[in-house]
Symmetry: D2
Subunit: 252 residues, 4 copies
Amino acid sequence: MSAPLKVAVLGASGRMGAEAVKAVGAANDMELVATLGRGDSLEILLETGATHVVDLSVPASTEANVRFAVEHGIHAVVGTTGWDDAKRESLTALLSKNPESGVLIAPNFALGSVLASAFAATAARYFESVEIIELHHPNKVDAPSGTAVRTAELIAAERAAAGVAPSPDATETQLDGARGALVDGVHVHSVRLRGLVAHQEVLLGGEGEQLTLRHDSYDRASFMPGVLLGLRTVASRPGLTYGLDGYLELGR
Amino acid sequence: MSAPLKVAVLGASGRMGAEAVKAVGAANDMELVATLGRGDSLEILLETGATHVVDLSVPASTEANVRFAVEHGIHAVVGTTGWDDAKRESLTALLSKNPESGVLIAPNFALGSVLASAFAATAARYFESVEIIELHHPNKVDAPSGTAVRTAELIAAERAAAGVAPSPDATETQLDGARGALVDGVHVHSVRLRGLVAHQEVLLGGEGEQLTLRHDSYDRASFMPGVLLGLRTVASRPGLTYGLDGYLELGR
Amino acid sequence: MSAPLKVAVLGASGRMGAEAVKAVGAANDMELVATLGRGDSLEILLETGATHVVDLSVPASTEANVRFAVEHGIHAVVGTTGWDDAKRESLTALLSKNPESGVLIAPNFALGSVLASAFAATAARYFESVEIIELHHPNKVDAPSGTAVRTAELIAAERAAAGVAPSPDATETQLDGARGALVDGVHVHSVRLRGLVAHQEVLLGGEGEQLTLRHDSYDRASFMPGVLLGLRTVASRPGLTYGLDGYLELGR
Amino acid sequence: MSAPLKVAVLGASGRMGAEAVKAVGAANDMELVATLGRGDSLEILLETGATHVVDLSVPASTEANVRFAVEHGIHAVVGTTGWDDAKRESLTALLSKNPESGVLIAPNFALGSVLASAFAATAARYFESVEIIELHHPNKVDAPSGTAVRTAELIAAERAAAGVAPSPDATETQLDGARGALVDGVHVHSVRLRGLVAHQEVLLGGEGEQLTLRHDSYDRASFMPGVLLGLRTVASRPGLTYGLDGYLELGR
């Protein structure tokens, strides 16, 4: 067995950060060498000999954190939001000067959700009909969910590329809203129900058959296997990878 | 074992009628004594000694068929549409003069669907949240389905009677239609997918739990157990019963 | 609006007790007047003027707690286990001398679970086939779950009473265990999966249709609406009621 | 638009064959040039100028049919069973002498089923727990279904290759059969219910999340999109392809 990864968690006092501290601490092949919160100096990374960082801090500090890591040969797995195109381009430029460093920026670390989106996009080429139902707790303020919108966009792009016709729909009369929202031509339905957390179903239908891809997220603990997978993989993938699906073996 | 019921099927050449002919013919406790189509004389019912009729004819003839049956002491199970309030009142008046005759008029003979609606109404008093998803083949021209609208109305009436607050919903921004159609305050979502037939889910949510009532209808054969149940019960229920749920033992 | 119920929680330091303290404290129509743990004197109930108790203590003390309540005209809602036939008979005798006191003993307070079991039993009379799938976290040591066994027994009893034939099954060759466990003639399948909590599906099938009754339990908070319903109802139901379904309006 | 494919259907009088005749006849990019049944001469393929055949005949004739096609430069899509290793090796040898001919032999043409199996295998590497539930009509004589057994084998192979531990299971006491059948270490549950056709769910669970892949097959019409996809692809894939998944773009 090889030496454990020396991992530091940035943003360790946030809710996701605290989960990461627990998960890294419990992993046999990792050693938690540092936990940094707001105001802590990044020099601690050098003093503790960290070879990997997990950045779960805030948009205001994530860019500086990651650039520091890259400049010091530390691999980075990043869950913080705020990485727009400009910031990613600038990071790519920096990585080209540090060709052995790897960075993973992932908007979503839930393996099941990432897999479900990828499978939905793959399957959408092969079915006449596709619709999305997302279900969340009733305190959510936006509808549809961001994940559902992204899944619909991904599906629409695959269908356009494969020349698939729009899903058939003979609806002539409807009550307002019955057929859901349209995202790039894909119908999306948003259910809000007390007791739920975050759930999504992609329904695909063809003559005589149906394929349903459902993901249920019950707890933010569900992000940790993806974070650990990222840490175990990032050193072998120099440069910038955007999206955890880049690390998954999706084909066969 | 008692003597078999002597059953005649009216509207026997229609699709539902043909199913009823098969189902009655296959029932051990029934004897199919006549099948009548358009233009056949109702006198055949008397000649064959029918004690029960199933009327699956057309709106234009169902009233005359049923009145003839009642006047001749024949019990009737009716699936034909078109029985508005006026016709039902007139039939009730006729039945009061023929107090031993029973008539069942049922807009829906699928036991599972009737049970699911009844259960949904019962449960809706006890949960904070309730929404409906109905799923059909893409050739359907209206949305939501009539069954979904009736289920929502039933649910809304029960919640109003029990003083239940509206389902919580913090949605502030939404894409048009994302949250579905509103029927008496109940959110209803209509999915259209190739390969499906007719399906409905009622989702009920409370703190920490969810109850889901789903009905799948694959084939019009699903109406026949309800028709047979109607035939076996109608003689013991003089007067007019509207809705198959009137014959089901729903409590305990 | 009437005066709030004066509620004391017994067993307040246990996990369920702590939930009850929160739930009663948050209910507009209740006042939490006392919380008792191990060793606390029941005299506190009298000093604080409690009119209702929730007993979520331990089997060793629940009988003394409830008898004290009944003898002092305090209504009791009881979730503690251990009430065998002998103890319930003895309690019924005591209640006959205190005819205004009400006691509810409920093995299960999750409304959705109680409703799902009742609906399953009702529906089981009307379908050819019925099977149960229960799904739990992988740390559960017994299979099937107690709830699944009780649901199967309830279903079997209803089918026997209604003269329904056993579910059809043409299986000739099977791998050991493929068709699940048999409980009173009902097939029961137990799934164990990381990430799950406690879930159950009753599947009912007839010619051309299917009815599915699913309950998901995510959190012990799901028991609290049932506890509150018990508290609000118990004073109007003198004597002993066993099972929360006794307080639900299941028919229409 | 290119010229239509000239397609002949072999085994055209069987149930699957009849579906293929309809499907090819309805496809805009295909011309149905011949339909052959038992006893018809394969010379008809040459006379009609067929460039593609669909073989849905019987095990006794499929090998001769396909060899004739290959020898005459006709591409073949084959759904007939009976192609054991020896026959496939012999066919591969023949194809090496006819390097422009393509043959697809597919044990399953339902796109949804093929995709669901492939997705299940892919996802099984990333989740702690995986189980399979298959649901069929009650006239089925074997349990589990062949598809469920193959899916379990595929999943087990992927998990072994990726070094994934067995699914956790703390069961100590169980009723016989409750935990299902074990296929290569994967628990498989078989439900038999009147009204169903053929359905399968693969449930994958990890800390705080669940991924469910469900396929419903309602009708043998569901095989036709796979047959048409095979016909459209086979000419561009010289040699023997075994399994429709070989023609699907499963990765991204």
